[in-house]
Each structure stands twice: as structure tokens, then as C-alpha cells.
């Protein structure tokens, strides 16, 4: 065998990677590269210029928007983490049954459309919204408070939008913390406070960091919440890009702003990687290798952190000692641990904050009024009639379903085989390829959307379902690959080897052994992909070209004109749909666990 053929051998087994790499190369890498290149060219020519960047950096406006974007994202990250931590902690440390039941209330808002949840906040926070009406009814305020179209509104909306992501990320790390460690601390003489702050909390920090990173990066690209719940002063960078493209058709400048957003995101990633390492994103608890602590700065930081955490632990324990003086804990009968009670109450309130608001949209959809107001005037089906009788809404709904099914199918078709190779084959450059496949998740979605718009405009895909399907598949592939890889990592490959030794060909092994065993994982991957597309607004906003609207796009257009009860009706239908999908997925998951 020739040397070349020998070197190519591992690649023969890796052929399922080729479709996914080709696809992402054409529909993702090429358009994004083109857009970024455009930012360095004079309009309509191929002459290099820095004019767009000059404009970006000399104008005070864009710098201010960048600062607002960073500030908003940072605060949103802070609230999502602080609010999410107690819930994640409760989920990770409670019994499995209780975790599954509570998890649904985190997953439900996680999968509910950002649009629907934002509308819900309009119902709650508006001048005539539920909260202001209650406050006035209780006599706490005379005039309505300004809870919306300002920083407060954006913060509430965005924290609500991103907290489930923070919770799920932190839970995945906390679940890997050995439950024996806090127990060991207790037997060694640590009270609850010391055991938590010195042992559990430091071990959960990688999860906090990973959650912080994901929330921050996602927040950077947000535009729905600031646009609908914020005022002029809350304009974020993504909104600038949208204006530049949709209203001014200034591609090159949009490219320059995109570059700014991308570079900001990459800088954040860089520092994260330097400080903690990327592998913490995959839910691994600790990354530092080998023996003792590494460098003096880290050692000093660790020393300060140690003192600080010890101090917080002591304060907590002092509180509990005082409490025990007041309410002694006798050794001869069982007493409730008050710290767990406090945790339960706090977590319950936060879960309420996450799950409850969405349901306020339901009564509003039955109002007889022509606008969204609290309390709604009952009872009318006119907004449902308006939805079902409207050819535009119906067309948008059907298109959304078709596009979501097709793009999820496409993502499965080329993503799942790639996941098999990535888990099972040893090939060179695997990490780089995985990074490439996952990069649509990391790069702010708006950049992909604008890039696709520019690309599609030249190949005639604007306003087509095909264009939407391809674009959504780009976003769905990373979810499919990650989910299928996670399932395969827990799959005992010896089962396949056993099937092979019993005479099954690889294809029959796949069909009779592997696929039946990982079926629920595959279904979950499909659902992930489906919902990603079904809920997608950014790409639809550009690519649909005003002709082929999807449901989220139609809702967005409607909301920009006027937030009206039809949107509440549509949102209610979506809410019911998502709830059914989630419960179905949960049912399938539990059934697969029982078997």
C-alpha cells in the first residue's frame, strides 16, 4: 500500500463528514466570509477601503450603541446567573423525580418563542398592564409606573429570556459534582455554609462561567426584546445592522458593524478560553491539569478567593448558629433543614418568574377589545377567527411547519452521520471540525442572516422556502450534532461489536441494534432542530423578502405595526403547541429510561 493511501485510510471511514462540511462551507462559511470582506471594499467595487470602519469608529453613535450592547448583555448575564443559580442548585441536588417535574417548568420557557414571551411581558408590564393595574388596585401607586420601553423592561425581558439557558448550562455541570463531596465536608465538621461555599460553589464555578459566556454571547445578538420592550436609549447593535440592511441597503456598512459584533464575541471567547478553557462548555467540572497550582497570579487569586469564600461561609454559618439558638435542633427527633426550605422558596419564586408570565397571554387572547389591556374584557373568539380566516397567517403557519420539518430533516440527514464519525473515529483535526460545525451557534445569528441575505440575493433564493430551509438547517445542524454526540457517548459500542461478531453487517447492526437503542436521542435531536427553525426570526426576517413569511416573521411584522390581540391568540396557539411537544418529548424520554 502506498504511503499516501495509508495516510488517507482513516479518512475513508470519515466520509459522512463531507456532506456537512460542504453544506456549511457553501451556506455558512462562504456567505459570512463574503459579508465580512464586503466591509473592506468600496461600495459596488472591489477596491479596498477602510471607509466603513472609519465611519464606525469616528461616529460617537456606534460606539455608544456598542457600549449599551455590552452593558445590557453584562447586566442580563448577571441577573440570569444570580437568578438561575438557586434553581440550578435545587435541580442538581434534589431527588430525580422532583428534578424531572421541576425541569419541565424550566424547559417550557426555554422552548417558548422569544416573541411570545416578549408579548407576555407587554401584557404584564405595559402602562395598562396587569402589574400596574394591580399596584393601583392595591393603592401602592397612583399613576402607572414606567416598567416598559426603558432599561427595566429590557432587563426583565432579557433576563427572563436567557435565564433558562443559564440554568440548563449550570445544571449540566452541577450534576457532575460528586454528591459525596458536600457529605464528606459535613462529616469533617463543616456546617452547611462552609460546605457550600468552600466545596460546592468552587466546583460549580465552571458551570457559572460557561453559563455566563453563553448568555453574554446570546445577549450580544439580541434585538427582539430591546426593540419591543426598550426605548430609544436601549438600541442594541443588532438593531443597527437591521436598519442598515433593511432600510438603507448599506451592505458594506452592515458588514462592518457585523465585524465589530463578531470581533467582540471572539474577544469574549478568547478571554474565556484563556481563563477557563473551552472544555468547560461541554460540562466538564475542572480543566487545570497535573499537580499543583500553575502561576503566581492564579495562586494569589485562589488565595483571595479561598479567604473570601471562607468568609461568606462563616457568615452563613453565623446566621445558622443564631437561628439554632432561637430554634434549637434537638438530636432526638427529625427537624427540617431551614436552609433547604429557604432554597426551595427562592427557587420556586424564580421558577414562577420563568413559567408564569407566559400564561398571561392566554386570557388576553379572548378579549373583546381591540388592544392589549388588563384585565381583558371577556369573552370573544374574534382574534382566533381573525387568525384562522387570514390567508396571510395561514400561509405563514403552513410555511413555518413545512420549513421546520424540512430543515430539521435535512439537519438530521447530514448532521447525525457526522456525529457518528466525530464520536467513533480517530481522525486528524477532529476538534477543528467540531468547532467549525458548532460555529453557527457561536457566531451571532444576525451575521449569518445578513450574509445569507446578500448571498441569496445573487443566487435568487430570496423569498423561497428552499432558502429558508437551507438557512435554518445551518442553525439546526449544531444542535443535532451535539445531541446525537451526547447520546452516542453514552452508548456501549461493544453492543455493535457483539452484533458484528454474531454475523450482522455494519448496516444491519445500525438498523437493528444502534438506531433502536438511541431512538429517543434521535427524536430529541429532531425536535431540537424543528423548534430551532419553527421559532427562528432573524434569518426569516431577511431571507423571506416580505414574500414567503414564516409565523415568527409575521408576528414580528404585526408587532412592529401594533401589538394587538391577534398576536395573543397566535401566541396561545404556539404555547399549546410547544407544551404538547415538550410533554411528548418528556414522555418519550421517561419511557426510554424505564425500558
Amino acid at each position: 500500500m502506498s504511503a499516501l493511501a495509508q495516510r488517507l485510510r482513516p479518512w475513508r471511514a470519515a466520509w459522512p463528514l463531507i456532506p456537512v462540511l460542504l453544506f456549511l462551507g457553501v451556506v455558512f462559511l462562504y456567505p459570512v466570509g463574503q459579508l465580512l470582506m464586503l466591509s473592506g471594499l468600496e461600495k459596488g467595487t472591489s477596491v479596498l477601503t477602510l471607509a466603513h470602519y472609519e465611519r464606525l469608529f469616528t461616529s460617537n453613535l456606534y460606539f455608544r450603541v456598542l457600549v449599551i450592547t455590552l452593558e445590557t448583555s453584562a447586566w442580563c448575564t448577571f441577573f440570569a446567573i444570580v437568578g438561575g443559580y438557586p434553581v440550578a442548585y435545587l435541580l442538581a441536588t434534589t431527588s430525580e423525580r422532583r428534578r424531572n417535574n421541576l425541569m419541565i417548568w424550566v424547559l417550557l420557557p426555554f422552548w417558548t418563542s422569544f416573541l411570545v414571551r416578549t408579548f407576555a411581558w407587554i401584557v404584564l408590564l405595559g402602562r395598562n398592564g396587569a402589574i400596574n393595574k394591580w399596584l393601583q388596585a392595591l393603592g401602592l401607586t397612583d399613576a402607572p409606573l414606567a416598567l416598559i420601553y426603558n432599561f427595566t423592561g429590557v432587563m426583565i425581558g432579557m433576563s427572563h429570556a436567557l435565564m433558562p439557558l443559564a440554568i440548563l448550562t449550570m445544571v449540566s455541570v452541577m450534576e457532575n459534582i460528586d454528591a459525596n463531596l458536600p457529605r464528606a465536608a459535613a462529616t469533617l465538621g463543616a456546617r452547611g455554609g462552609q460546605a457550600f461555599w468552600r466545596i460546592y460553589f468552587p466546583l460549580s464555578l465552571p458551570g457559572v462561567a460557561a453559563a455566563g459566556l453563553l448568555v453574554f454571547i446570546t445577549a450580544l445578538g439580541f434585538f427582539i426584546t430591546p426593540a419591543l420592550l426598550g426605548g430609544r436609549l436601549q438600541t442594541m447593535i443588532t438593531q443597527i445592522i437591521i436598519t442598515q440592511v433593511q432600510e438603507l441597503l448599506n451592505w458594506a456598512f452592515a458588514g462592518a458593524v457585523s465585524m465589530l459584533l463578531l470581533v467582540t464575541a471572539l474577544i469574549v471567547f478568547y478571554f474565556y478560553d484563556r481563563a477557563l478553557g473551552m472544555s468547560t462548555l461541554a460540562g466538564e467540572t475542572t480543566t487545570s491539569q497535573g499537580g499543583g497550582r500553575r502561576n503566581p497570579i492564579a495562586a494569589i487569586a485562589a488565595w483571595i478567593g479561598d479567604i473570601l469564600l471562607g468568609l461568606i461561609g462563616r457568615i452563613c454559618d453565623a446566621v445558622s448558629i443564631v437561628y439554632e439558638r432561637l430554634v434549637p435542633r434537638p438530636a432526638d427527633r427529625l427537624t427540617r433543614q431551614w436552609s433547604r426550605t429557604v432554597l426551595g422558596v427562592v427557587a420556586f419564586l424564580i421558577i414562577g418568574f420563568l413559567a408564569a408570565p407566559t400564561f398571561f397571554i392566554v386570557p388576553v387572547s379572548f378579549t373583546t377589545d381591540a388592544f392589549i389591556e388588563w384585565p381583558p374584557k371577556f369573552y370573544s373568539m374574534r382574534w382566533y377567527d381573525a387568525y384562522f380566516d387570514s390567508p396571510i397567517w395561514m400561509a405563514a403557519t403552513v410555511r413555518s411547519l413545512v420549513v421546520a420539518t424540512a430543515s430539521a430533516g435535512l439537519a438530521m440527514l447530514i448532521g447525525a452521520p457526522a456525529a457518528f464519525v466525530l464520536v467513533r473515529q480517530r481522525i486528524m483535526g477532529k476538534t477543528a471540525m467540531l468547532a467549525f460545525i458548532l460555529s453557527p451557534l457561536i457566531i451571532p445569528r444576525i451575521i449569518i442572516a445578513v450574509a445569507l441575505f446578500y448571498f441569496y440575493a445573487r443566487v435568487g433564493l430570496i423569498g423561497t422556502s428552499i432558502g429558508l430551509i437551507l438557512g435554518h438547517a445551518v442553525l439546526a445542524i449544531p444542535y443535532v450534532v451535539v445531541t446525537v454526540m451526547a447520546v452516542l457517548k453514552n452508548y456501549d459500542e461493544r453492543l455493535d461489536q457483539a452484533a458484528g461478531s454474531l454475523g450482522a453487517t455494519p448496516l444491519r447492526t445500525l438498523w437493528h441494534i444502534t438506531i433502536p437503542l438511541i431512538r429517543s436521542g434521535l427524536v430529541a435531536a429532531f425536535l431540537f432542530a424543528f423548534i430551532t427553525s419553527f421559532d427562528e426570526l432573524t434569518i426569516a426576517l431577511f431571507v423571506s423578502g416580505g414574500l414567503a413569511t414564516t409565523l415568527p416573521k409575521q408576528m414580528w411584522d404585526d408587532a412592529l405595526l401594533k401589538v394587538n390581540p391577534t398576536l395573543a391568540a397566535v401566541s396561545t396557539i404556539l404555547l399549546v403547541f410547544i407544551t404538547i411537544v415538550i410533554l411528548l418529548a418528556e414522555y418519550l424520554r421517561r419511557r426510554s429510561v424505564v425500558r
Binding site: 460528586d178 459525596n180 463531596l181 457529605r183 464528606a184 465536608a185 459535613a186 462529616t187 469533617l188 465538621g189 463543616a190 456546617r191 462552609q194 460546605a195 468552600r198 466545596i199 468552587p202 466546583l203 467540572t285 475542572t286 487545570s288 497535573g290 499537580g291 499543583g292 497550582r293 471562607g310 435542633r329 434537638p330 438530636a331 432526638d332 427527633r333 427529625l334 427537624t335
Partner: protein, 361 residues
């Protein structure tokens, strides 16, 4: 106080999970300096008992007294116990030094004193050189010793160990058994140890508490359990045993005579609560059975057919069928190459009356 002289007293403990009884009617005392092992198969309730004593599980009923103080529902950090977990539970983000210093810090000990104490226990477990390493940089055996050191450093009343050697390979396990035993003897530690390995229990323990199906089956010294098992389960769990069905024929003082199904009469020491006509099981350890020559005699003799002869190195095992086709085995020291014994040959097996045990349960 009545329990003052015991390091640990457990009374009438019971724990259920829904319809599943994990532990019931558990009671025993642990003396100062004693090494007691909870031995039993998985699901026998031994870990539940340990967790209740450590304060990590709350019992439904019963009492736990540690060092003369009632501690049934006291939090773990107030119990003055040490615990070595099966997976060691070393804090992965702390160095070995910090791990061992942790309990001392929790007791607000001065830094100088902490340094001295950590140094002392690291010397005891013979690992003074690893203080600055993180636990994952240590081998399994080293982690085991550090877990032990972390437990000993604050001199708790009792050290609880939950299958601490379960994760080690055979050779290292044998070595660690002796090391722990030696530390126990030298330092006068009071230890409660959990294992499912009967050999490990025999090697290490002063007393063994044999557990089965959520109850204490028998509690006694290793010799008690080996030579005087009270139940079929105890006889079978510790060492090998030959069991034959029998009926009590006569009870005369400290001698009881029983009859096997094929009519052979067997003499044995009288067991508690035995009555004529009762169906019992008679138990003999394989090493107490001898193959008799034509001229040899013994207190008890049965005839059988030889099935297998297997030389296992230092000992040779003889398998035969006796009394209604029951399989029995005899273990003898291997003194030379085996000759003159063939499969299917008739043999006579004999043993003394004193090495017979009658079991009623």
C-alpha cells in the same frame, strides 16, 4: 449514663423507602479501640446503617449514641465522626494539604498547629511528598491513604469506612488491608468498616456484624462466625460449607444425634432450642472432612461416590456425592501428587463431632 462506656450504641434502627425496608431491628455496641465490620451482600442494609450513623440518612425509628451522647438526628458536623467514602470524596479543587487541613480549619485551629498536624498524618500514611499535589495526580492507593489521613487528622471518636478498598486492584487491596489494620492497632482508632468481602472482614475485624436482608444476621468475632454460624446464610457467607438435611434423633446433654436421609447417624454438639424429631441442617467445613482409609474411624462417617479431585495449589479439593445425592467437598493440604483415587470410586468421609454444627434456620 448507660451508654457512656461504649463509643457507639445503635438501638432498634429502622429505615424504609416506601415499601422497601432498607434496615430494621438493628442494634449493636462498639467499644473503644474496636474494629467492627458490617459484612453482607449488596442490599443487606450495611451502607444504610453506616449512613445513618454518619448522619447522612435519617432513620424512621431508633437511636444512635456516639461517645455517650444521643446523636440520632444530630447534623453530621456535630457528631465527631470521620468517614472514608468508597470513592474517597477528596475535594478535587484542593491540594492534598488543603484537603487534610479542611477539618482542622472547620475547627478553627491555628495555622501553625494545622501545618504540624497535617505533617504528622502525612508521615503516618507515608506520603509526606504529595502535600502540594491535587488529588487526581495521585494513584488510587495514594488517594485512599490521603482519605484516611484526612479522617484521622482530627482524631474523631469513630472512623467510618464505606468499602474503602472497593476501587483498588487485588494486590493493592491486600496491602491496604494490612496497613489499615496496623494503623488501627498502633493508633487505637475505633473503626466501623463496611465491606461485602468476607475475607477482608475476617482479616481486619475484631468483630463482624453479618447483615442480610436489612437485618443483623449474626454478630461476633470472626472465629465465632466461622466456627459457630447460627444460620444457613451465615454458614454459607463466611467460608465454604457442606450442608446436609437431617432429623434430630436424640438429645443427650451436650451431644445431639441426628440422622441423614440415607440413614447415617451423625453426632454433634447440642445447639440451642433443639428438639427430637426436628428437621435441621448439619454443617461441616470442607477442611474438617477427611477421606478415611479402610482402617480409619471417626466420630461421624458417611459414604459417597467421588466426583472430582482438583488440586488448587496448596490445597486439594475432593468433591463427592453422599446421602441422597448431596454434593459435598473436602479440602486437604496438598502433600504430594495425587494417586489411587478415581472418579466414581466409593469413599468414606469422616469428621469429628465437635466440628459439626446444627442449624435450625
Amino acid at each position: 449514663m448507660t451508654n457512656a462506656k461504649h463509643k457507639l450504641t445503635v438501638r432498634d434502627l429502622r429505615k424504609t423507602y416506601g415499601p422497601v425496608v432498607a434496615l430494621t431491628e438493628a442494634a449493636f455496641d462498639l467499644e473503644e479501640g474496636e474494629f467492627l465490620t458490617l459484612l453482607g451482600p449488596s442490599g443487606s442494609g450495611k451502607t444504610t446503617m453506616l449512613m445513618i450513623i454518619a448522619g447522612l440518612i435519617q432513620p424512621d425509628r431508633g437511636e444512635v449514641w456516639i461517645d455517650g451522647k444521643l446523636a440520632t438526628f444530630a447534623p453530621s458536623y456535630k457528631r465527631d465522626i470521620g468517614m472514608v467514602f468508597q470513592n474517597y470524596a477528596l475535594f478535587p479543587h484542593m491540594t492534598v494539604y488543603e484537603n487534610i487541613a479542611f477539618p482542622l480549619r472547620m475547627r478553627n485551629m491555628a495555622t501553625d498547629k494545622i501545618r504540624q498536624e497535617v505533617g504528622r498524618v502525612l508521615d503516618i500514611v507515608r506520603l509526606p511528598q504529595v502535600a502540594d499535589r491535587l488529588p487526581r495526580a495521585l494513584s488510587g492507593g495514594q488517594q485512599q491513604r490521603i482519605a484516611l489521613a484526612r479522617c484521622m487528622v482530627y482524631r474523631p471518636s469513630i472512623i467510618l469506612m464505606d468499602e474503602p478498598l472497593g476501587a483498588l486492584d487485588k494486590k493493592l487491596r491486600d496491602q491496604m488491608q494490612l496497613e489499615i489494620k496496623q494503623l488501627h492497632t498502633e493508633l487505637g482508632i475505633t473503626a466501623l468498616y463496611v465491606t461485602h468481602d468476607q475475607e477482608e472482614a475476617m482479616i481486619m475485624s475484631d468483630r463482624i456484624c453479618l447483615m442480610n436482608e436489612a437485618r443483623i444476621e449474626q454478630l461476633g468475632t470472626p472465629a465465632d462466625l466461622y466456627f459457630k454460624p447460627r444460620t444457613v446464610f451465615a454458614a454459607g457467607f463466611l467460608g465454604e460449607s457442606n450442608l446436609l438435611e437431617a432429623t434430630v434423633e436424640a438429645v443427650v446433654g451436650d451431644r445431639t444425634t441426628v440422622k441423614t436421609p440415607d440413614g447415617a447417624l451423625v453426632r454433634a454438639p447440642t445447639a440451642d432450642g433443639i428438639a427430637v424429631g426436628q428437621a435441621v441442617k448439619l454443617m461441616v467445613r470442607p477442611e474438617r472432612l477427611a477421606l478415611l482409609g479402610p482402617a480409619d474411624s471417626a466420630d461421624n462417617v458417611v459414604e459417597g461416590t467421588l466426583d472430582q479431585v482438583i488440586m488448587v495449589g496448596g490445597v486439594t479439593k475432593y468433591y463427592a456425592r453422599v446421602a441422597g445425592d448431596r454434593a459435598v467437598s473436602a479440602t486437604r493440604l496438598t502433600l504430594g501428587p495425587i494417586s489411587g483415587l478415581e472418579r466414581g470410586q466409593r469413599v468414606r468421609l469422616g469428621w469429628s463431632a465437635d466440628s459439626t454444627v446444627l442449624l435450625t434456620a
